[in-house]
Amino acid sequence: MSDTILLAHGSGGKLSHDLVEKRFLPFLANPALNKLDDSAIFEASGHLAFTTDSYVVNPIFFPGGDIGKLAVCGTVNDLAMSGAKPAYLSLSVIIEEGLSLDELEQIVQSVKKAAEEAEVSIITGDTKVVNRGQADKLFITTSGIGIISPEVDISGANAKAGDKVILSGTIGDHGIAIMSQREGLRFSVPVESDCAPLNKLVSQMLEASSRIHCLRDPTRGGLATTLNEFARQSNVGIVIEEDKIPIMEGVKAACELLGLDPIYVANEGKLVAIVEPSDADKVLAQMKQIGYGREAAIIGEVTAKHPGRVIMKTKLGPSRIVDMLSGELLPRIC
């Protein structure tokens, strides 16, 4: 058998079946998937949350993860941020011909590992193979279904004046890890992506308080963009304090070097929560119990002043407006 993906792997014929049965099923097996029917049949009741996302990250392997882990964590996190308990995922893979089967296997292994950690099942999937140049090695789309308790009401539009802003840990790790891998920037302390499933962290937080108003994972656009989304959706102002925001030394150094502001750099394993002030300490304490929330911190609060605007008290004392990310993050030239 060839050790790379051929167009024939996408023909729908024997090689396609081999691909699914030898490269995917052994790792992702579960009763719904194993049937290989046209649809997966499953039971669910109550309120459901449904989400989808596509993953085209370049490079597909990066420090701290790969596109497979990202595709599971990203969709799991989108469900978790609505307060849903992720249950089932679909996995759709578009492969560029020529991808090595070893690389594919590594990625499927990562999917398996991440799904196990998040306790979700991949119950349906699809594979396509395209000509060289029509995709960049591998694209993945995952959709997810989660179950949501009727009393949970989490939305970006729920922030109220006085609420506290909690960040679950250090920012910018994923963006800097990708950028340094993609551009061959080498730092003495390598920065790893924070890519992680946050559903267990969220369920612990929901146990600690029923008054978590907003939850979101600050992925592309970073912390600044997420806070601006909350401020606009809820028509409130948000004030954060720069020196309360946890940042790893390596990320800080890389950002200084490249002229980037870490509040705009992407994360894949962090969340921002807007919480009723009286419950904030309780939620924070609970978050710190869990690995992915160990470095959580209250970084600011919601205010009735300057609705729609995020203001940051800088380390030096003065305040400045924090806008959404516009355009791409690019290092300085001068």
């Binding site: 551009e183 920037l185 302390v189 020196d243 030394e249 390596g250 800080k252 150094a253 200084e256 002229g259 502001d261 300057h306 605007r309 203001i311 800088t314 380390k315 030096l316 004392g317 003065p318 305040s319 400045r320 407006i321 806008d323 516009s326 355009g327 791409e328 690019l330 290092p331 300085r332 030239i333 001068c334």
Partner: protein, 363 residues
């Protein structure tokens, strides 16, 4: 990493700001040459820390911004030549030229790739031997040595499909041009940090000697900038303008001789066109005859339509320090980072982008 937090210490910043306030009696105007300084000043709210007597203006130190529209048009035309790959710093691709932008050309099928340095462009040339790889060489003395090094490397490795469109510019001549113009009265200049790492402080002596203007070279951390402002205020108050280095961990008076040698080897000084200023003699770097086979200007010919400058855009005035971004009628109304009219809104070092992103204080 050491030496980041140390230069962002709020207590020291407060003390420095206090010292500046105590020292400052005269109303003065300072220009920060570098776009990087403008961004740091806005990002840390330094304008709010210094007394009202100290006015700050942004200067021409944004490589993307000062690139003339005609030069940008040329880069765009080169991108449309068959079998050509354009390699460029990222900011350039979004700047509108007379009729299009590199980004637009890319969407139309031109092969345009973002690189982080000219050395990366060499690797693109090696990987694509059938194509001509042209690097759009913008920047000041900071990028010029690496561009020179890339040309030497291409020669050494006998890479025959690598070219540079040399638009590199020099900082002392533009400072002289602005001072000669006399349009904005300046008492002091926050000298460029990274440029000075390369060229040292000696090339700026004329600023204080001939024009009586203070010049202090600064790093990019908030304490660097506050220390620089403190020294500038001190000089102006004492009536003793001179060139000083407030960034000694990066800058030596004589600069970096190795980098200067590289530049000298590959480039010669010639006239250059600056957006908003025009042609300044002896302010650009041209590729020497010995290396002309790498010169995109010599190797390719493109026909260009007449240059059209965007109506109402005041980037030229902003670059000269004659206007602040909010004084432009298009600022934040027609011209935003999503729909930029001029380069100062596009570039991560542009003054309009800084004013837009960090805004003014709210409290």
């Amino acid at each position: 990493m050491k030496f980041v937090d140390e230069y962002q210490n709020s207590e020291l910043a407060r003390r420095l700001a206090h010292r500046i306030t105590n020292r400052s009696t005269k109303t003065i105007r300072l220009m920060e040459f570098c776009g990087g300084h403008t961004h740091a000043i806005m990002r840390y709210g330094i304008r709010q820390l210094v007394p009202k007597t100290v006015e700050m203006r942004s200067g021409p130190g944004c490589p993307v911004c000062v690139t003339a529209t005609a030069d940008l048009d040329k880069a765009i035309a080169l991108a449309h030549l068959p079998e050509v790959i354009i390699t460029t710093f990222g900011d350039m691709i979004r700047v509108p030229g007379s009729y299009s932008s590199l980004q637009q050309s890319k969407a139309e099928g031109a092969d345009i790739r973002i690189v982080y340095s000219a050395i990366d462009a060499i690797e693109t040339a090696v990987a694509n031997p059938e194509e001509s790889v042209i690097f759009i060489g913008i920047g000041f003395e900071t990028t010029a040595p690496t561009i020179a090094a890339s040309i030497l490397k291409a020669q050494q490795r006998k890479i025959e499909n690598f070219y540079v469109l040399s638009l590199n510019k020099l900082t002392p001549p533009v400072m002289k041009a602005l001072l000669d113009l006399g349009e904005v009265k300046l008492d002091g200049i926050i000298g460029p940090g990274h440029v000075s790492v390369i060229i040292g402080s000696h090339p700026y002596e004329f600023i204080s000697n001939s024009y009586g203007v203070a010049c202090v070279i600064s790093g990019f951390e908030p304490l660097d900038i506050l220390l620089c402002i403190d020294k500038l205020v001190e000089q102006v108050e004492n009536g003793q303008p001179k060139v000083e280095i407030a960034y000694p961990r990066g800058v030596k008076p004589e600069g970096n001789s190795k980098a200067l040698q590289l530049m000298e080897e590959v480039f010669e000084v010639g006239g250059a066109d600056w957006r908003g200023i025009g042609t300044i003699p002896q302010s650009g770097l041209k590729i020497r005859k010995e290396y002309e086979r790498f010169d995109a200007d010599k190797a390719f010919s493109v026909s260009l339509k007449p240059v059209r400058e965007p109506k109402g855009c005041r980037c030229g005035d902003v670059i000269r320090g004659a206007a602040t971004p909010p004084e432009c009628k298009l600022f934040r109304k027609v011209c935003t980072p999503e729909t930029p009219v001029g380069p100062c809104m596009v570039s991560s070092e542009g003054a309009c982008a800084a004013y837009n992103q960090y805004g003014e204080s709210c409290e």
